[in-house]
């Protein structure tokens, strides 16, 4: 092997190691039979047991799931509507301004979004409860949904399938539910899953707007860290990681061309 090629491989190996080694440590030490130290003592799954005996942790997991499910559902519905209007509205003024305004939350530093939401909520005395958190997450997730769903809807428009349906006698609503919805379905589902993932693993925004009783899992993990990194944290993180990876895999699976009814070119 030429030295240049070898160097390239070593470099690539180091990059991937830097990316994945921390994750592997977390996973490995979640099975370590030792309390709070980083020396391997033997294999165990007991931390997963103690994890589910911890009522606060289970409550946090449950809160996270509820928030993510609700927020991603709302964000998906809103994102679908927004995508449809942005693509199909014939003479929407400043269409591009709306379009880019929707993706701003993707680029704004999340901490600013968090501070902004917090000061808004306290100003209008919005209870920092479950729905406050859901609202914050909807704001944060919406651009992700639009990003995925709009691409599909505008590709459908490019193929005039909705126009063909209306041409054959379908009203706008019939064209939407007989043509747009079935053809965009995998993208909508993928957008929803992406929103779920984003909401489920969100820390910064949640940290600002979560109140007592709405501690999400990432916040709970953070607070547990005050007493050092325990094997429970590793176990919980592993569960979080696996769940996220599954969702991301599902997203990629749904969003491939193979899985969407192919439009003839």
């Amino acid at each position: 092997m030429r030295p240049g090629k070898l160097a390239g491989r070593v470099y690539a190996g180091l990059v991937y190691a830097a990316l994945y080694f921390p994750l592997l440590i977390v996973i490995a030490f979640s099975f370590n039979d030792a309390k709070r130290n980083l020396i391997w003592k033997g294999f165990t799954v007991k931390w997963y047991g103690t994890l589910f005996a911890d009522a606060e942790l289970v409550a946090a997991l449950w809160t996270s799931l509820k928030v993510a499910a609700t927020a991603s559902l709302i964000a998906t519905l809103m994102g679908l509507l927004a995508s449809y209007v942005l693509v199909h509205h014939p003479r929407l003024r400043a269409k591009r301004a709306y379009d880019s305004a929707l993706s701003v939350p993707l680029m704004v530093p999340e901490i600013i979004l968090g501070v902004g939401l917090l000061s808004l909520y306290t100003r209008v005395c919005f209870d920092l409860s479950f729905w406050g958190l859901v609202c914050a997450h909807v704001v944060y997730c919406l651009p992700f949904v639009v990003w995925v769903v709009k691409a599909r809807i505008s590709s459908l428009k490019g193929h005039s399938v909705e126009e063909a349906a209306m041409d054959l006698g379908a009203t706008e609503w019939q064209a939407f539910h007989k043509i747009t919805l079935p053809l965009a379905w995998p993208a909508i589902l993928a957008g929803g899953m992406l929103a779920f993932t984003v909401s489920f693993e969100d820390f910064v925004t949640s940290f600002f707007v979560a109140g007592v009783g709405t501690t999400t899992l990432p916040i709970k993990i953070y607070s547990m860290m005050k007493f050092g990194i325990t094997p429970e944290i590793n176990a919980m993180s592993t569960i979080l990681l696996v769940l996220t990876l599954l969702l991301v895999a599902a997203y990629y699976f749904l969003n491939t061309e193979k899985n969407q009814d192919q439009l003839p070119v």
Partner: protein, 379 residues
Amino acid sequence: MTGSYLLELKNIHKSFDSHRVLNDVSLQIREGEFLTLLGPSGCGKTTTLRIIGGFEQPDSGEVYLNGARVTHLPPYRRNVHTVFQHYALFPHYNVFENVAFSMRLKTLPPQTIEKEVKDALSLVALSGFEKRKVSQLSGGQQQRIALARSLVGKPSLLLLDEPLGALDLKLRESMQLELKKIQQKLKMTFVYVTHDQQEALTMSDRIVVFNHGRIEQCGPAREIYEKPASSFVADFLGNANILAATLLEILPGSRAEILLEGEIKLKVPCAEALPVAAGQRLCVAIRPEKIQLHSGPSQDASKVSLPCVLNDVVYLGSSARVLLSPFSGCAKTIQATVVKYGRSGADSAGGLNGTAPGGTIWAQLDGDDILLLPPESDS
């Protein structure tokens, strides 16, 4: 007054973002007609079709269908169907459901739907394809299914937006004839959009030539080819050499004398109403196939012979295109079509007589083959 026309467009204007796409377009279509909207891309022909279909609304002007004003009706409330450029078949339905779509919406009885789909598929020669998925069809087959799907609702008018554009030449030519046959069999009215002049000539009863959002000319194919109303039409439908001329004198018997490119006088036939008065400039068009090439000037007094420099010969298979520079001083290049090019011992009528590029050859014109046109506008 909408009279007995099936479709009538009245003074349609349409702009997109201050860009004028249609400028005062008026058009009448009779029942059972095959009408082609022809023009280069961006000339407004597709926008006209979309206004008829209800996908766009004109800024001003009216659309009448069977005498009723439909200008602002949505597509689903017009008995007009469209065959889209890329077919727009529904990929999540099979062939049967695609064709049955309009009837399902009307909730017709299943037996009726089945029979109609069967008839439509046999009409486009795809019987037995009911259960196929759209993705399993070839481009030509998809095209036929799109046609069947649009025919099945018995629309009073079928709009076709460059439906053959994506097919290869052979398939396109056979589909052209087939489309025409189907149209005649069903006695249906077709409005067909294309930028392909050959396609327009093959199928149409009448052709409407568009340019820059305006109708340049409207009439039967033969009339448009033989009596183009403008130099644009003459050049777009078939090729034409457009030359500048001055009208010298109007002669009795529908003839006129002109001065061609400031060089030669000749007598040509002209219409009763000339576009310009004597002494003014105009354009003339000469079809490449009307120019004959000879090795010397003609002895025939009724013909004009121009000495030209042979620039180039483009071999086209069944014919060849010869590029000539006429009148030493003229910057224009004229084209002549030679049919018998390449034969050994090329004959004198239309042959090049072995003249090589750079050599001199005589282009012979018959005054009767020269078309007088209004001068080219600056716009």
